[in-house]
Every structure is written in structure tokens, then in C-alpha cells.
């Protein structure tokens, strides 16, 4: 049972990631493939603050999310000039760079040795070391992310995002500030991804760079596409299915040296099949142009 709850927690954290990527990729149509970099910043920032300075994880979570948002603001700059696959490669590079920093800045991040013993959240003396309480915490954050992004995308602001996606020049010609909107989209997406990273770090209590490889961004993107581009329930479904389904491989009794690559092979095959048969995802409304 605890194992099942653990899987749900991981699925919840991935849901936050896929929801926050959907506002960038699905609603605004910007092909960002470096989403895991923001989660890495959130995770490392709040872990390091807790371990080195004894800062409460709650404050660390906020600071981590803000730092991730600042990185998001920086990344929005290339998105003003690059489009389509060029933006995809550039943002993918961001993932590689952040991974390199986590791995090589040993004096700060301890490199490949990772950061052990990250404290868990606590409230009024109550430690969140129980998986059930942690699941509730994660679900609350999934809810916050979901409703924030839903409200953003349903507002007039959200319609401008759709405008940018459908026809950037026409939207600009209507007097809308493209730079500002892209900046805000990346800041919001990165902020929530930072929260997801921090939630992960304080839950597992150990992080190392291998949690944040650039390929992980592709997994998150796959969740968004699988569930559906520009569909928030789709993002949650995508994260749930892609986290829970491969776990079944474990129950078939495959050793992990077979199950791990097999899981990745399923992801790869799924990505190819989706692209050929249904690039907008299960319940998506938009496909890459």
C-alpha cells in the first residue's frame, strides 16, 4: 500500500511538471525542451538552503521556485528570436547545461555524489515523513498549479497566449506585447516546475544530477503530448499513465536491468506512435505547426 502511495506521489510531482510545461508548449506553442532544468534549480536551491543554512523547507521551496522563475525569464529571451525546432534544440541545451552545472560544480552540489539527508517538510512540529501526509501535500500543490494555470489560460491573458500560438505576427499587430507575454509564460511555467523539483527533493531526501538529465525533459514533454496539448486534465492523465503504467513491468517480475531499458523503450515507441497517429495527444486541441 505504501508503495502505491509512493507511486501516486511521484505521479503527482510529474503532474505539476507536465501542467507547468503545458502552458508553455500547449497553450503558447513554444517548443521548450528544457523543463527539467527548472525543476533541478528548485530542487537544488531548496535542498542546499535546508542543508547548509538550516532554512525551513517551506521557505526553501519558495526561494527555489523564484530562482527557477528567474532562469525561466532568462530562457524566454532566446524564445523571442528562435522558433520551432531551433528553439527546441536551444532549450534542450539549457537542460544539458544545468545538468553539467549540477554534476561539475562539486564544491556546491557535491557533483555525482549527490545531496543526502535533505530534511522533510514540517508544520507545527509535525514531520511530513509519512507517505499519506506527503501525498496530501503534493495533491494540494497539484491543485494550486492546476487552478492557477487554468485561470491564466481562461483569462484574456490566456487568449493572447493562444493568439501567439496561432499567429504571432497578427497578435503583435493587434498591439499585444509579445515579449512580455512570453516572459510571463516562461516565468509561470518555471516557477511551478521549481516547486515540483523542491517537492521531489524533500520527499526522496536525496538528489543527484542523474535525476535531472536532459532526456527527462523529453519524458515530461511526452506526458504533455500524450495527455493532450493545451489540455490541463490531459496533462494530469498523461503524467499518471506514464508513471503508473511502467510500474506494472515490475509486477511481471522482470529484473531491473531489463525493466529499466524496457520502460524507456516503451516511452520511445509511444512518442513515435503518437507523433505519427495523433500529434495533438489523447484529448488535445492543438498540434505543433
Amino acid at each position: 500500500m505504501e508503495y502505491l502511495i509512493h507511486i501516486l506521489i511521484i505521479a503527482g510531482i510529474y503532474s505539476i511538471l507536465s501542467l507547468s510545461l503545458n502552458i508553455i508548449v500547449g497553450y503558447t506553442g513554444l517548443a521548450a525542451l528544457g523543463h527539467i532544468a527548472f525543476a533541478a534549480v528548485g530542487a537544488y536551491a531548496s535542498s542546499l538552503l535546508a542543508l547548509n543554512l538550516g532554512v525551513s523547507p517551506w521557505i526553501g521551496l519558495l526561494i527555489g521556485a523564484v530562482l527557477a522563475a528567474i532562469l525561466g525569464a532568462i530562457v524566454s529571451y532566446p524564445s523571442l528570436r528562435l522558433k520551432g525546432d531551433y528553439l527546441a534544440i536551444a532549450t534542450f541545451g539549457l537542460g544539458v547545461i544545468i545538468y553539467s552545472v549540477a554534476k561539475n560544480w562539486v564544491s556546491l552540489t557535491r557533483g555525482p555524489m549527490g545531496l543526502p539527508g535533505i530534511p522533510s517538510f514540517s508544520l507545527f512540529g509535525l514531520e511530513f515523513n509519512n507517505v499519506y501526509i506527503y501525498l496530501v501535500l503534493v495533491l494540494i500543490f497539484v491543485g494550486i498549479t492546476y487552478f492557477t494555470i487554468r485561470n491564466i489560460t481562461r483569462s484574456p491573458f490566456g487568449r493572447i497566449l493562444t493568439g501567439i500560438r496561432e499567429d504571432e505576427i497578427a497578435t503583435e499587430a493587434m498591439g499585444k506585447n509579445i515579449i512580455k507575454h512570453k516572459l510571463i509564460v516562461f516565468v509561470v511555467g518555471a516557477f511551478f516546475a521549481g516547486i515540483a523539483g523542491s517537492l521531489y527533493a524533500h520527499y526522496i531526501t536525496f538528489i543527484d544530477p542523474s535525476n535531472f538529465t536532459a532526456m527527462e525533459s523529453i519524458t515530461v514533454l511526452l506526458m504533455v503530448i500524450f495527455g493532450g496539448m493545451a489540455s490541463l486534465p490531459g496533462s494530469v492523465v498523461g503524467a499518471m499513465v506514464l508513471v503508473i503504467f511502467p510500474e506494472l513491468l515490475r509486477f511481471v517480475g522482470l529484473p531491473s536491468s531489463v525493466a529499466a531499458p524496457l520502460r524507456q523503450m516503451i516511452y520511445g515507441l509511444l512518442l513515435v506512435v503518437l507523433m505519427i497517429l495523433r500529434p495533438q495527444g489523447l484529448i488535445g486541441k492543438y498540434k505543433f505547426k
Binding site: 528562435l82 522558433k83 520551432g84 525546432d85 536551444a90 532526456m215 512518442l271 513515435v272
Partner: protein, 292 residues
């Protein structure tokens, strides 16, 4: 110290160039990022290992076989994945994502078959290298540099001087126009995938003679190939050679100053600078109008 760094830069640069040339051939014809190029490179290295070490076929023949099969693999990827996508007339981004899928699939297939551990294909003991202008170079490294240059020349002559090359250029410039003139564009694309993937396979084999191999080796290789291609001028074959050498030199000069682990970060830093400030690359190739 400096001559050695420059030499190391040229060696790793020629491998990057070889990957980038194959990538550029494919890119200029189909106009999307064939990310799975990296996994063809890894497959080339593993095939050579398989024929040479496990089946114990003679070394030259195994290399030949590995290159051929790498070419066939490229053609299969084109047929099974890209051809249906071309029929749907989807965007470049969809091609790129599908290509990521192929990459993940084959990389993990290699891991499933050969295991995740590092393998060493070469058997002969390490020989002392030749001293040359204050730097040391081994026979294998000389082989790498010379075969890259020869393959570059062959491809360049093929594209510029032969009839097939003319057809490739025609399909690259204007696919519909080429079809109107009676060129079977699908046939040309198949040929390009075969040539480009054979080059990637050759690069994988050359690197396996020099260092050890692992299933994830294709990842950083294809990134370097793409970066070399973009900084050289996307789709240009001499550009890919220059971009590869430039990247190799820049990386090795970079890690001379800081640690070796920063290589990938340096490469991407250079890429992002080029994309933002000189997207046309060293050879000043204008990228597709609507993209940059």
C-alpha cells in the same frame, strides 16, 4: 602543452565533423533535425564490437559490415517513421520529437542487448604514439583524422560532381520542383539516409577503436554533430567539417582552463551564442526563412 591541446581538438573535432557531415547531408535534404543520427552512431560502434569481438569476423570485414548495417538502419528509420510523417505533412518539430522517440528506443535496445556497462572493443596493447611538433599522436588517432578527411572529400565530390549529387541538391533546394523534373524524391531521400547513416556508423567505429563504448554514447555525439552543423552553417557540408573542427578546438581549449566535465556545457554555450548572434554560421548559410 598547447600543441597537444590543439591536436586533441583536431582529433575530437574530426569525429564531430564526421557525425556533422552525415547529419548535414540528411538535414539539407529533409530539413528537420534527425536526432536519431546519434543512435545510429552508437549502433555502428556496437555492431563493430559484435562482429569483431563476439562473432570474431576479421577486423576489416567487420568494419565494412558495421558500416553497411548502420546505413540500412538509417534507411529503416526513414521508412518506418519519417515516411508516414511526410505523408501527414507535419511540422519539423513533430519530426524532431519522433526522432527523439527513435533515439530513446534504439539506445535502450542496445542497453537491453549489450548491458549498460562500458565495453572496450580494442584488443591490442597500447602503443606509444609518435612525437610530432611537441605533441603525441597514436596510430589510431592518425587514422581518425585521415579517414574523416577522406570521407569528407568523397561526400563532397559525390554531392558536387555526380549525377546522384545533382539530384540530391535538386531535392534539397526544391522537392516539388525536383519531382516535376522527373526525380523520384523518395528514392533520393532513401539514398541520403543510407549515406548519412553509414557516415555516422563509420564515426562510431572509429571512436570505438580509440576509446570504450557505452549505450548512451550517441547522446552527446549527436548533440555535438548538431552543434557543429549549426555553427558551421546548417546543411553545408564544408560548414559541417569546419564547425566540427571549431567545436573540437573550442572544447579542448575550454577544458584546458576548467575541468573536463564542462565539455557539453561549453558546446551548448557556443551553440546558443551562435543561434542568437550568427544563426547563419561560419559559412553564412541562411536558415529556412520562417524559422530563425
Amino acid at each position: 602543452m598547447i600543441p597537444q591541446i590543439i591536436l586533441n581538438g583536431i582529433i575530437s573535432g574530426s569525429v564531430y565533423a564526421l557525425i556533422a557531415i552525415g547529419f548535414a547531408c540528411i538535414y539539407r535534404t529533409v530539413k528537420f533535425f534527425h536526432f536519431a543520427h546519434g543512435v545510429v552512431y552508437a549502433a555502428g560502434a556496437y555492431l563493430a564490437y559484435f562482429f569483431f569481438r563476439i562473432l570474431k569476423i576479421g577486423s576489416l570485414f567487420s568494419l565494412f559490415l558495421a558500416i553497411i548495417i548502420a546505413g540500412i538502419l538509417g534507411v529503416c528509420i526513414n521508412r518506418l517513421v519519417y515516411l508516414p510523417l511526410r505523408r501527414h505533412k507535419t511540422s519539423n518539430l513533430v519530426f524532431l520529437l519522433a526522432s527523439f522517440g527513435v533515439f530513446i528506443f534504439i539506445q535502450n535496445l542496445l542497453q537491453l542487448i549489450f548491458g549498460a556497462q562500458i565495453l572496450t572493443p580494442k584488443t591490442d596493447p597500447v602503443k606509444e604514439g609518435h612525437h610530432f611538433l611537441g605533441a603525441v599522436i597514436t596510430d589510431t588517432q592518425i587514422l581518425i583524422i585521415i579517414s574523416s578527411l577522406i570521407l569528407f572529400l568523397l561526400i563532397w565530390l559525390l554531392v558536387q560532381k555526380t549525377k546522384l549529387g545533382k539530384a540530391i541538391r535538386a531535392v534539397s533546394d526544391d522537392r516539388i520542383g525536383a519531382r516535376v523534373s522527373g526525380i523520384n524524391s523518395e528514392k533520393i531521400i532513401t539514398a541520403v539516409f543510407a549515406i548519412g547513416s553509414a557516415l555516422a556508423g563509420a564515426a562510431g567505429i572509429l571512436i570505438s577503436l580509440e576509446t570504450s563504448i557505452e549505450p548512451t554514447m550517441g547522446f552527446s555525439a549527436v548533440l555535438k554533430g548538431i552543434i557543429a552543423c549549426i555553427i558551421g552553417g546548417i546543411g553545408s557540408i564544408p560548414g559541417a567539417l569546419l564547425g566540427g573542427l571549431f567545436l573540437g578546438l573550442a572544447e579542448n581549449l575550454g577544458i584546458w582552463q576548467i575541468q573536463a566535465g564542462w565539455k557539453d556545457a561549453i558546446a551548448f554555450g557556443i551553440l546558443i551564442l551562435f543561434l542568437l548572434f550568427r544563426p547563419s554560421g561560419i559559412m553564412n548559410v541562411k536558415p529556412e526563412k520562417e524559422k530563425v
